[in-house]
């Protein structure tokens, strides 16, 4: 993650900026339609980009049936996402290739911390009444504190969508400021906008700005539980907000699409988006994460194909 002194400290709420936003949907759609057709990587480049994508994955399990055993297995995969023999054949033996983080519910933070002990892989915890955020504020803040106490170094908070839908930017800002205070120096705050619940792309852009003004380290598209989760449209609008925020205040905020990204091809489309709209720094995991559970397997299969020329069977890839 970015070092402490480069962290986005947040800024006062600039409502004029928020209210003056313009996002034209059809223009966004055209950019998103053409971008993956303008950029592609093949062969060695594809292998390298996919390995890079692996290091950006927030390997996630957020289900009611998560158990310590399930989390332990996931963490083992997080430590060794690509088979050692494959890494060697790709010329990356000795190189540390692990995922960006493991992302779990607060109750499973302890299990994950234990399972990842000795690695540098941070544990991320969702919090603040994930996924709907419809819990009283004190409990939501308490949830952050408890997750940090259990060892989480990243907190994925959800916003109150009602503040966005009613245009109550001040309340959204104040709430997120409190979340950020609760994260303090111990954890980075990744703010989930739940874009699928928002009404327009303009609101996505506005919510992105407010979340950054309130001190988010990352802004994240979705919980994975909305009807529509990460799309390139939402992502383009959010990356542009990140760019505008950087231009105005000089702080780099990270981006995390989550939900629905399950193929290597999709991952590469997002990588192109980051490279084109924000630049190379946003291809590495201190500023870019992909929230996913099944993506890793597809990347492994593509890498296997690159190495052997054969299409891979899923059951040949170690499960997480």
């Amino acid at each position: 993650m970015t070092s402490q002194n480069n962290r986005n400290p947040g800024t006062p709420l600039d409502l004029d900026w928020v209210m003056g936003a313009h996002v034209n949907k059809s223009a966004v759609e055209r950019r998103v339609e053409s971008l993956p057709k303008r950029r592609t990587v093949k062969k060695e480049w594809q292998a390298a980009w996919l390995l890079r994508a692996v290091t950006c994955i927030d390997l996630t399990t957020l289900a009611g049936d998560d158990t310590p055993g399930r989390v332990k297995r996931l963490c083992a995969k997080a430590r060794q996402p690509i088979r050692a023999d494959m890494l060697a054949r790709l010329g990356l033996d000795g190189e540390k290739v692990t995922v960006g983080a493991v992302c779990v519910y607060p109750n499973r933070v302890h299990d994950a911390v234990e399972a990842l002990r000795g690695s540098d892989i941070p544990v991320a915890s969702v919090a603040t009444g994930f996924p709907a955020g419809q819990t009283p504020l004190p409990q939501r803040i308490q949830e952050i504190e408890q997750a940090i106490e259990a060892g989480a170094r990243e907190i994925d908070v959800v916003i109150s969508r009602n503040h966005v839908l009613t245009g109550d930017w001040k309340s959204l800002y104040d709430e997120l400021k409190q979340f950020r205070a609760a994260c303090g120096d111990a954890a980075h705050m990744k703010t989930i906008l739940a874009t699928g619940d928002l009404g327009t792309l303009k609101q996505v852009y506005q919510a992105s700005l407010v979340a950054m003004m309130a001190g988010s380290d990352f802004i994240k598209t979705s919980t994975g539980k909305e009807t529509v989760n990460a799309t390139l449209e939402f992502s383009l609008v959010m990356t542009r907000a990140i760019r505008d925020y950087l231009d105005r205040f000089g702080y780099k905020v990270g981006f995390k699409p989550a939900g629905g990204i399950s193929s290597a091809k999709q991952a590469m489309a997002w990588q192109s988006l980051m490279k084109e709209e924000l630049g190379d720094e946003w291809l590495k995991n201190d500023l870019f994460r992909i929230g996913a559970s099944s993506l890793l397997t597809d990347i492994e299969r593509q890498l296997y194909h690159y190495i052997t020329g054969h299409y891979a069977a899923k059951h040949h890839m170690p499960m997480g």
Partner: protein, 810 residues
């Protein structure tokens, strides 16, 4: 460090080439040498000369093609003429099946077409694959539909005949589709000549069409130099010429076809404005600029090459644009990961570079991103020139390359003024999130295509073509059909005249007083109260500027009146008055209001029915009955156009855009109209009424021989609430006055119903400013018949189609 590890750390892009193998195999199969495609067969003329085709990205020789000569052009046109005899009689539904088969076959060979297009032209494979080739197929599907519907929906029309089509090198396949699909759908046959730089895809297309089973001779493709193009244009057995290319060549074609009766459509150059308001999605607009000027390396006739940004956001916008330019990738056209490929030819590269140097010399600040270009091949960086004034040549002239110039504005009206400050009028792009503003500006920019919050949108269902010196005629949509149709009653005009090279056309010595002995047609014992009609300009009766008068004699040779003998200055004044009436809102009035005025004119004419009948009898010596019929028909005609005043506004086009595409039939502007002699009143009314019904203002030159019906008529206009300047009447020598109208840079169209020779001169002179013309070639027209004397043909000439694209979604 392993290569993958290196990339893992740098995260650079690498090469992602599309394989050229299939194209190479196709070229090899032809021995890298091509003949002409005539009658569905490859013909290699004896002793033919060949011309090389190079890949502009690497200089590699792709193949050689034949340089057609006169006999080859003759053979191709003869094949088309023979095929026309059966193809034009082939039922529409059968032709529809052929077009459908072509569309399907093009899709089946889509990748081969795309790869060859990129290799021959230098455009990125992404564009040829995702834009050019899909649109190619789309046009054939769209016009297959019109072939199917022709007999029911276009029953008053027939095909034009054999069509010569000359296309440019920037969109070899797409331009071919725009030309061929509507032509053969309507029963015409074609001879197509691709541009010299890019001949190969047209030849592949020909093969694919033959494979689809199109009868021999319907589509012929001949390759050759510009002189082969001239041979097609000047050939006596060609009925229409369709051309896309530079305005200069367009001028030449206009002169070459002048007076011939060949139909002509021209799609020419542009310097299209890209207008960004402060309430636009600026990032969206930046991407729009990329699509506008760096599409096809900027070698696009409708490229948004003049960026016009609201001053208060200009600095911010330009910075965003520069940042975006740093991310552009220029390289091998077959690379799937680039934005711009190669410039088509060294000479074009030199021209572009010359313009950039001019721009800098004119005081512009040139920005090019710090990006890599391939070491060899004709590549040019995306370029932005800021700080130029509208007067700079770099701002006024078409560069036809990846070079954008930027200007600023303060208010919406200034934005419109700057946007319209050009000789051209092909396209425009308007960016604002305020729908009122965006649509208002879209309606006021003079351009054939206006894209709101988008740019470079094309579809078979929407017409494309220019205003002003960007040409005339439309390609695409229903409006595109009429370039390839003629009313069923009309034969191919074959005007006959002998050009008197010595006599300068339109020269005129003012007329002298009538000779002694010419009796006044009086009939009274007292001297007649002198009634000398004047000019009618700006709603006022004015004396002729030159203070000369010419006499009007009756059929029996008696003096029945005198009219002003107009000159250049009268025309000048009338055009000014017409513009004043136009800008003060005649076109802005709603159709209801214009229809009421037309009804009122009809009412007042009818009230003076007897007087007008008498005048016609007196002038022409025709029977009372015949004159009565003419006046009655005139009243009816006014009723017809009162009806049309609010029923020809345009259509909603069913394009692939999510949103609304509207084709608006806009008025031409100021039309100069020279009336025929054969029906002094009805001819005048038949031409004036459609023009003003559709919001134009007019300068009328009445019948030279029988001007008094028109001069009587201005009293009718005076009493009918017609705003001053909407109709102006200048009497005098028809050709003398017409010449001034044609040469006038601020007259939008000229209609001429004088002699065959005069028609030649009107068309020939119009080449100087590329105004639209409509001439009668001195051929008779039955003005009394509704079929020939009113309706769609007139409305079509009174309007120009603007397609406004408005994507939706919040």
């Amino acid at each position: 460090m392993s290569k993958i590890l290196e990339i893992f750390k740098s995260m650079e892009y690498g090469p992602a080439p599309e394989a050229p193998d299939a194209v190479k195999a196709w070229l090899d199969e032809h021995g890298r040498k091509f003949g002409l495609f005539i009658n569905n067969e490859w013909v290699t003329p004896k002793g033919a000369k060949f011309y090389p085709s190079y890949n502009p990205a690497n200089g590699e020789l792709l193949a050689e093609t034949t340089q057609a000569e006169k006999k080859d052009v003759d053979a191709a046109l003869a094949a088309a003429r023979t095929a026309f005899k059966t193809w034009s009689k082939t039922p529409g539904m059968v032709r529809a099946r052929y077009l459908y088969a072509i569309a399907r076959n093009l899709q089946k060979h889509s990748r081969l077409l795309a790869v060859l297009e990129s290799m021959d032209n230098g455009k990125p494979i992404r564009e040829s694959r995702d834009i050019d080739v899909p649109l190619l197929a789309r046009h054939f599907y769209y016009y297959a539909g019109w072939a199917q519907l022709m007999e029911t929906e276009l029953r008053d029309y027939q095909p034009v005949g054999v069509v010569g089509q000359i296309i440019p090198w920037n969109f070899p396949l797409l331009m071919l589709a725009w030309k061929i699909a509507p032509a053969i759908a309507m029963g015409n046959t074609v001879v197509l000549k691709p541009a010299s730089y890019t001949r190969l895809t047209a030849l592949l297309f020909a093969e694919i069409v033959a494979e689809a089973g199109l009868p021999a001779g319907v589509v012929n493709v001949i390759t050759g130099s510009s002189s082969a193009g001239s041979m097609i244009v000047e050939h006596s057995d060609v009925d229409k010429i369709a051309f896309t290319g530079s305005t200069d060549v367009g001028r030449t074609l206009r002169k070459q076809t002048a007076g011939s009766g060949k139909k002509l459509s021209l799609e020419l150059g542009g310097k299209s404005p890209f207008v960004v308001f402060d309430d636009a999605d600026l990032d969206g607009a930046v991407e729009g600029v990329v699509d506008a000027i760096w599409f096809n390396q900027g070698q696009v006739c409708c490229a948004g090459s003049r960026l016009i940004v609201q001053e208060n956001v200009a600095a911010k916008f330009i910075q965003k644009l520069k940042n975006r330019m740093e991310h552009m990738r220029v390289g091998d056209p077959l690379d799937k990961s680039i934005d711009m490929g190669a410039i088509v030819d060294q000479s074009q590269w030199d021209t572009i570079d010359g313009w950039v140097k001019t721009g800098i010399a004119e005081g512009g600040e040139c920005f090019q991103p710090n990006i890599a270009l391939p070491e060899k091949g004709l590549f040019y960086k995306p370029t932005l020139i800021t700080g130029l004034d509208p007067a700079a040549a770099t701002v006024q002239e078409e560069i036809f390359g990846p070079v954008l110039v930027s200007l600023t504005f303060r208010t919406p009206s200034e934005a419109i003024e700057v946007a319209n400050n050009t000789r051209y009028g092909l396209a425009a792009s308007v960016w604002s999130d305020n729908i009122n503003l965006a649509l208002d500006v879209a309606s006021k920019i003079k351009a054939g295509s206006v894209w709101v919050n988008c740019t470079n949108q094309f579809d078979g269902a929407s017409g494309f073509g220019g205003y002003r010196e960007s040409g005339y005629g439309r390609e695409g949509g229903r409006e595109g059909l009429f370039e390839y149709l003629r009313p069923t009653w009309m034969d191919r005009p074959r005007p006959e005249f002998v050009l008197d090279e010595k006599k300068k056309w339109g020269e005129h010595v003012p007329t002298l007083p009538s000779q002694p002995g010419v009796a006044r047609a009086n009939g009274h014992s007292l001297p007649l109260v002198d009634r000398t009609p004047k000019m009618y300009i700006g709603g006022k009766q004015v004396r002729p500027d030159g203070a000369y008068t010419s006499s009007v004699l009756s059929a029996k040779g008696k003096l029945i009146g005198q009219v002003g003998d107009g000159n250049r200055k009268d025309i000048r004044d009338a055009v000014e008055a017409a513009h004043k009436a136009r800008t003060s809102g005649w076109a802005m009035r709603h159709g209801y209001n214009r229809s009421q005025i037309l009804y009122f004119i009809a009412e007042n004419l009818d009230a003076r029915n007897a007087e007008f009948v008498k005048r016609i009898v007196e002038m022409t010596g025709r029977t009372q009955k015949s004159a009565q019929a003419e006046v009655d028909a005139s009243v009816e005609r006014l009723f017809s156009y009162a009806a049309w005043a609010d029923k020809y506004g345009g259509t909603v086009q069913e394009t692939t855009l999510r949103g609304i595409t509207v084709a608006v039939n806009e008025p031409m502007g100021v039309i100069g109209i020279a009336c025929p002699d054969e029906m002094p009143l009805l001819g005048f009314i038949s031409l004036m009424a459609p023009a003003i019904a559709r919001g134009n203002t007019v300068v009328m030159i009445p019948s030279q021989k029988y001007p008094l019906s028109a001069t009587d008529f201005y009293q009718v206009l005076d009493t009918s609430d017609v705003p001053s300047g909407v109709v102006n009447i200048v009497t005098g020598d028809r050709d003398h006055l017409t010449k001034t109208l044609v040469q006038h840079e601020d007259v939008d169209s000229v209609w001429y119903f004088g002699s065959a020779e005069g028609s030649y001169h009107v068309e020939n002179e119009s080449a100087a400013n590329m105004k639209r013309t409509w001439t009668g070639y001195g051929l008779p027209r039955d003005w009394m018949s509704r079929e020939q004397g009113e309706g769609h043909e007139f409305l079509h000439e009174a309007t120009q189609v603007k397609n406004i694209w408005v994507p939706t979604g919040e």
